[in-house]
């Protein structure tokens, strides 16, 4: 059975959210450790089941009680004791050390129902963003994980293991992405109606390019023109919750929208970013994402919503 699992694994282990297609140091270590354990487990399973089936099919044996005793002590006591002690020691050695941090870059991720408030901290710089994680390849990154409401769990399978966000606690996670690319992460702890829709895109930048991205992210909103969409955004009170750096910096309840147009997904991985998705979202967020905090704007005429959507898309 486990061997069958292996066969299944070979062609199908890819995907942007796969722990079996690692793009980070920790995920790689866990992945190879896993393969080693699967092979061991498959061997043990096959041996054990072979013995059991033989015992049933074979003609009644000449086995003495002494033989049975040896089997129980050898197979049931000595072998697992040694094997598991070895496995335990290997496992303990690969336990992460969270006491210090080698990381230069800290990313504060704050879970909220059902999205991610993200802040990048390097030196004195602190840049606020949301729902997307950008990482430099080949550099350790420290994640500082907190929550605003219930328990969430921050999981980037391709980069490394998960860590919960607990109310009243600050949890940390240190990971080192290695392979540039675009991946996907998600909330792993059940956190309410839209737990399934609390995901995020991960962009691992090639070494050096991350700093360019960070500079771009630091800059205020790219589109400062006085468009109709911008007027409507302000007139309808959107700014009470959403901040747009350089344009309006009032509310901080909802995700920061300074560079929302450049994000790959809308509403924390609920849908790919597009004009259609944005208009649907503004019209009735609950329809896309049950339990979302944003109120519906069904009362706005369609062209006004389109104008707001166009304005947001222009914020790259």
């Amino acid at each position: 059975m486990v061997a069958l699992l292996l066969l299944l694994l070979v062609p199908a282990c890819g995907g942007p959210q796969s722990a079996l297609d690692p793009a980070g140091l920790e995920a790689e270590r866990i992945g190879s450790f896993f393969l080693f354990m699967v092979l061991g487990a498959a061997t043990i399973w096959a041996l054990l089941m072979g013995t059991a089936i033989l015992a049933i099919l074979r003609r009644p044996g000449r086995h003495t009680e002494r033989f049975a005793n040896t089997l129980i002590i050898g197979g049931g006591v000595i072998f697992p004791t040694i094997g598991l002690a070895a496995l335990l020691t290997v496992g303990l050695r690969s336990l992460p050390d969270w006491s210090g941090s080698p990381a230069d870059l800290r990313i504060h991720v704050h879970g909220e129902q059902f999205w991610w408030r993200v802040a990048y901290e390097r030196g004195d710089e602190r840049i606020v963003s949301a729902n997307e994680i950008h990482l430099p390849a080949g550099e350790p990154v420290e994640f500082v994980l907190t929550t605003a409401d219930v328990i969430h769990s921050f999981w980037m399978p391709a980069i490394g293991g998960k860590m919960d966000m607990m109310p009243g606690r600050v949890n940390r996670l240190i990971l080192t992405p290695t392979t540039p690319g675009i991946y996907r992460g998600a909330c792993a702890e059940f956190c309410g109606p839209s737990h399934a829709l609390m995901a995020f895109a991960i962009v691992v930048h090639p070494p050096g390019e991350f700093d360019d991205w960070l500079v771009a992210e630091t800059s205020p909103a790219s589109n400062s023109a006085e468009t109709e969409g911008r007027r409507l955004f302000l007139a309808n009170g959107c700014a009470a919750c959403h901040r747009i750096g350089g344009i309006v910096e009032l509310g901080e309840v909802g995700p920061d929208l300074t560079h929302v147009g450049s994000r790959r997904t809308l509403a924390a991985g609920t849908a790919p970013m597009s004009r259609q998705a944005l208009t649907d979202w503004i019209t009735d967020p609950q329809a896309l994402k049950p339990g979302a905090g944003m109120p519906a704007y069904t009362m706005l005429p369609e062209e006004e919503i389109l104008a707001i959507a166009d304005f947001l898309l222009s914020l790259e």
Binding site: N69, T81, A85, L88, S99
Partner: protein, 124 residues
């Protein structure tokens, strides 16, 4: 659970109780220690204490194990599985075997809970 309550013979339950308990009491101990002292805290003073406790527990368990082994060996190595009858001696044999095997299991349990102390040096 309390497996020792029913069969109240001391030989039967003492190794069960003492071994894992001495060593597993280190779990809450370390949890409180690390919660109060922080992750960088070195385990050193506590480590020594736990290692000493484990050694004492192991010594005690090995002594028990050898004691029951001397009594029990003939029947362990011959016809242990044959039917055990209805005499007080048979019951005693059963309890001795239980004592022997549970001291072995306790030794394993103590070693297992000591491994983390040997491998890790700080709370991390």
């Amino acid at each position: 659970m309390d497996p020792g309550r029913a069969p109240t013979s001391g030989r039967f339950c003492s190794p069960r109780r003492s071994g894992p308990c001495i060593s597993s009491s280190s779990i809450p101990g370390f949890a409180v220690y690390c919660a109060k002292a922080g992750r960088d805290a070195a385990l050193d003073p506590a480590r020594a204490a736990v290692l000493a406790a484990s050694t004492v527990a192991l010594g005690f368990l090995v002594w028990l194990f050898l004691g029951s082994w001397r009594r029990r060996r003939p029947s362990v190595t011959d016809a242990d599985f044959s039917f055990e009858g209805n005499t007080p001696e048979e019951r005693h044999r059963f309890l001795t075997h239980m004592s022997l095997a549970s001291s072995a299991l306790s030794i394993v349990a103590v070693i297992y809970t000591t491994i983390p102390i040997l491998v890790l040096e700080t709370c991390r």
